[in-house]
């Protein structure tokens, strides 16, 4: 089924893709030759996995376990470090700074993800229906921000928002108006929304576009003969066919947004105080650890954030499961 020579292999229609875990029956026949060979091959399997297993244990399981361990202790000035059970978690979930940050990232995800989705799906559908040179050029340009670090993306938008030398203000002053400062207390939500959408929409667009390109075009022809118009083809055939790609993107967007760090951290110095040191849970944990040396409490915050992300992703996966698509 796969054609290995070219990249198009990957755009096999999701519905037709064979389940990866399907038991390869012919192999079993061949392998049943001798017990020894099976054992040897199992060993070889572990050898292939071993480097990853080492990294996985050292940089995922160990930090997780260590964070959990640290979060169960409290360091006092007079008392030293002592076991305190779940105190840090009780503190975290009644800490207005942490709760405010969680509330912000949840609210931000709820607005950001639909906006990003609309932009990337819209662009992908249009690009999929055109084969002109302009369309190819556009595809590349829309994707380009993916190659730019979030730090630089945030900086550029920060400059563009600037009331002293940004173009927004210059355009507004042509008509003697005051442009909104997109990093002010009231507007920073939208300023960040724009910067993040700009950064990621192109990447998501490419994933959806590649999935669209994998759909068998005879489906459209059949639908057209049945009298379907362009919109019906887009909404009834194309969108459902790429739904598994979209679920994957949504999950990544959700995980990424709940861990929001780089953009607000970079924009904080030029935002006149509207991005506080407890703006998002990750920024809060960073400041607790590196400005206040509260490593135990910072670990508890990190761990609590991890749990929130896990729950959010599972709620989301559960909600979309009906569609018959999931990571596993």
């Amino acid at each position: 089924m796969a054609d290995h020579g070219s990249m198009t292999t990957t755009s096999a229609p999701p519905a037709v893709a064979a389940p990866a875990g399907a038991p390869p029956s012919p192999r079993r026949k061949a392998a049943s030759g001798s017990e020894k060979m099976v054992a040897r091959r199992a060993r070889v399997g572990w050898v292939f996995i071993a480097p990853f297993a080492v990294v996985f244990v050292a940089f995922l399981l160990a930090p997780l376990a260590y964070a959990l361990y640290l979060s169960l202790f409290t360091k006092g000035l007079a008392t030293g470090t002592k076991f305190s059970g779940l105190d840090n978690y009780v503190r975290a979930f009644s800490d207005p700074s942490f709760l405010k940050g969680v509330w912000f990232v949840l609210r931000f995800s709820l607005v950001l993800i639909p906006v990003q989705m609309a932009v990337s799906l819209g662009a992908a559908l249009v690009l999929d229906s055109l084969t002109t040179r302009l369309a190819r050029f556009s595809r590349l340009m829309i994707f380009l921000p993916y190659a730019i670090p979030a730090v630089i993306g945030a900086l550029m938008w920060g400059f563009l928002y600037s009331p002293t030398f940004g173009p927004l203000q210059q355009i507004a002053s042509l008509v003697h108006a005051q442009a909104p400062f997109l990093l002010s207390q009231d507007n920073v939500f939208y300023g960040l929304l724009n910067a993040v959408t700009w950064q990621w929409a192109g990447y998501y667009m490419i994933i959806i576009y590649a999935a669209l390109q994998g759909i068998d075009p005879t489906l459209y022809e059949a639908a057209r003969i049945d009298g379907a118009n362009v919109w019906q083809i887009a909404l009834r055939i194309k969108v459902p066919m790429v739904s598994s790609a979209m679920v994957l993107i949504l999950v990544f967007a959700l995980i990424g947004t709940l861990q929001f760090f780089s953009e607000p951290q970079i924009l904080a110095p030029i935002a006149n105080g509207s991005i506080t040191p407890d703006f998002t849970p990750n920024i809060y944990a960073y400041n607790l650890a590196f400005s206040y040396a509260q490593f135990n409490y910072a670990s508890a915050i990190s761990f609590a954030l991890g749990i929130i992300v896990f729950i959010a992703v599972y709620v989301f996966m559960f909600a979309t499961r009906k569609r018959g698509s999931s990571l596993s």
């Binding site: 400059f159 861990q259 991890g306």
Partner: protein
Amino acid sequence: MSALTTTAPELARRPRPRRNVVAHLFLAVLVLYFLVPIWWLIVASTKDAHGLFSGSAGALWFDSNFNLVANLQDLFTYNGGEYLHWLGNSFLYALSGGLGATAISVLAGYGFAKYRFRGRNFAFALLLGSVMVPLTALVIPTFILLSNLKLTDTVWAVILPSLLSPFGVYLMRVYTADAVPDELLDAARVDGAGEYRMFFQVSLPLLRPAVVTVLLLSVVGTWNNYFLPLAMLSTSRLYPLTVGIGLWEQLASGNNGGGHSLWSLIIIGSLVSIIPLVVAFLTLQKYWQGGLSLGSLK
């Protein structure tokens, strides 16, 4: 590509000019939106400090005073040429972290897809679960762990954690399951090939598109990473570009532009920092274009 070529004649046969105009307009607006910040960056890189803040040409057009070369000289010599160190560090971290993570992911994905052994299903379930673990939540615990080992503030503190790529393993496993037929491996075994030779000579060439994709993803991920090096490093000579430029920005907004005008350095520095990856993406188009959809395969 096959999809493109089959639909092309059909479109030509049935032109729908009005809809195409609307579609192209929509694309033009999108392109404008995505390019404005980059255009601004290019324009601003050619200005001196005066032109930047009070130039007569506006933010989106060139000043009469074209200062690009002087800005570049400034950038590479400022503070003992620390920018060049950062550039070198970014390459070091992205290439070693990216290549390492890719090699590890390819091996593990292949092992999961093509071998049966005790604990495989459990290990893979663990891996799938870990794709959901927010990696930045691990940064602070990893920092404390590495500081106990006296490894923080060294290049290893950035490179070693970058080797972890559960998603890369997942992609390689999914891809390998389809791209390397078991029959082919069995035939090679019958011919007497060893398991490892088989991997390098039979399987690896078939996996090339996925390998390139995972490599791109992990190089970009490491090059663009900010939180990890920010937490791990305190010696500015070890910074990658992202953390270095962040440092300049803090200095510049801290002293309100007094002394050396750091803002022009930040701008030209940002421009130079995005060139390597932008060039890589533009020249390697045919490799990444379908490949990024790998994740949507299932």
